[in-house]
């Protein structure tokens, strides 16, 4: 079941590559806008880099949340999934993982390149990538709740950002914090462990909450 839903969503993403690329380019553009707005002073950019990359990742991940369920809602396949004898939470987990593979992984892979633009040292680049690798699945999982709640609503796109962004704050703090800590030469393990803990907790609870939300939205 889990395999099938991931396989299906990846297949759909392959058929519609433009969706994946839009998210990635959005991420790149947002990150590239900052030097243009604050100036090319390298020291300043280096201190801001972890925050900028993380905020851009948050926004990019959020931007694609609308698609997580709405296409399936429009063509009726979501209805069919709700009627499946399989666990709906498992299904939502599959959809969130697929969302992460399609939107999160490209961000993780692109982050070191953007970090170089900001002249981040090698260690910091590695930590940035690891923190994104651990943190972006949490964004997809929490985002699934927001996407499920706003399904089919007018202005759903803006609404989902209102609902989801405040919940992203801890991830943002510890994600960017890990990179800053490594740049400052202090330990970053605690940050990464906490993001890992968030990941575990959201793996357990978010699919369940999102599944309940889907049932509410489709009733």
């Amino acid at each position: 079941m889990l395999i099938w839903i991931i396989k299906r969503d990846l297949l759909l993403a392959v058929r519609r590559q433009s969706d994946v690329l839009t998210t990635l380019f959005f991420f790149i553009i947002v990150v590239s806008l900052f030097p243009l707005s604050v100036g090319p002073e390298m020291n300043l950019l280096r201190t801001m880099a972890p925050g900028i990359v993380w905020v851009a990742a948050l926004l990019a991940s959020m931007l694609s949340l609308g698609r997580m369920f709405s296409n399936d809602y429009i063509d009726g396949t979501l209805e069919q999934m709700l009627l499946s004898p399989q666990s709906l939470s498992l299904l939502v987990l599959g959809k969130a993982l697929a969302h992460w593979l399609v939107t999160g992984i490209p961000l993780v892979l692109m982050a070191p390149v953007l970090g170089i633009q900001y002249d981040l040292p090698g260690d910091a680049l590695a930590i940035l990538t690891i923190s994104l690798l651990l943190g972006t699945p949490v964004l997809s999982l929490i985002g699934a709740i927001g996407a499920a709640l706003t399904l089919g609503l007018r202005g759903g796109g803006v609404l989902v950002s209102l609902l989801v962004l405040p919940l992203y704050i801890p991830i943002l703090i510890f994600g960017a914090g890990a990179v800053e800590a490594s740049m400052a030469g202090v330990g970053f393990d605690a940050h990464l462990s906490l993001i890992g803990a968030f990941l575990l907790v959201s793996l357990v609870f978010a699919p369940w909450a999102a599944a309940s939300s889907l049932k509410v939205s489709l009733e």
């Binding site: 706003t150 405040p166 909450a209």
Partner: protein, 248 residues
């Protein structure tokens, strides 16, 4: 005397009960508010460190407490509504949200007013202020979600889920912000070490807290009544009220 509480879980009987309770709470709220403000602004001594400006805490602290407390109460009632499918508890949750958001806003506003003379700036990224700001976002998210949904049953349930998700996240967010704040200690001023308070100050503050309570109850009951009327407008008992001309 045994009271059948479940009787009041039906909107119709709650409507009349709330109608009787509102004047009571309103009067108490006004009396306490007057007393609290009097104690706060005239009786309590001037603080030797902060001068007269500290008196804003008589509004700021109760507002901040209420803002947090009301969110928990709101999530509680929303959760009850979700679990037991009781309409009234969900209406109650929707009625609490605007009051909670208002207190959050007051807490932020007065906090900023307080910050100017204390820290020389309108806003500092202090852990408490930041958490309070995020709390405001959570309230706004809850209200916008409910406003965007036309079907009241779906609005109730969806609101309940986001309120519960929020309430689980509040400690995590608060803890994260605290950590973040200590990491960046240099940039901000800590307001955490409250000096030991004079008894009259404490008394004034407690009176204000109770006044806020009474005010919240009165306003929330009133708002619940309005929501009941809106939702039940097609029922016979509301039509009966309209005939009697008792719908204000």
């Amino acid at each position: 005397m045994a009271i059948n509480w479940f009787k009041y879980s039906s909107p119709a009987s709650f409507y009349s009960l709330a109608g009787k309770m509102i004047p009571f709470f309103t009067v108490i709220a006004i009396i306490l508010l007057a007393a609290g403000l009097y104690v706060g602004f005239f009786v309590a001594p001037t603080d030797f460190q902060q001068g007269e400006a500290y008196r804003i805490i008589f509004i700021h602290v109760p507002a901040a407490w209420m803002s947090m407390f009301l969110y928990v109460v709101m999530a509680f009632w929303a959760g009850i509504g979700l679990a037991f499918n009781t309409r009234l508890s969900a209406m109650f949750a929707s009625a609490i949200a605007p009051t909670g958001a208002m207190f959050t806003f007051i807490a932020l506003w007065t906090g900023s007013l307080w910050g100017k003379p204390m820290w020389g700036t309108w806003w500092v990224w202090d852990a408490r202020l930041t958490s309070e700001l995020i709390l405001l976002f959570l309230y706004i998210g809850f209200m916008s979600l409910q406003a965007a949904i036309d079907d009241p049953r779906r609005a109730d349930k969806a609101g309940a889920i986001i309120a519960l998700v929020g309430v689980v996240n509040i400690p995590i967010i608060y803890f994260s912000v605290q950590w973040w704040n200590t990491l960046h200690q240099g940039a901000s001023v800590s307001v955490n070490q409250a000096p030991s308070m004079a008894t009259t100050m404490l008394a004034g503050m407690l009176i204000m807290v109770f006044a806020s309570w009474m005010y919240s109850i009165a306003v929330i009951l009133k708002r619940t009544r309005i929501i009941i009327l809106e939702r039940e407008s097609h029922t016979a008992w509301v039509a009966g009220l309209q005939k009697k001309g008792t719908v204000s």
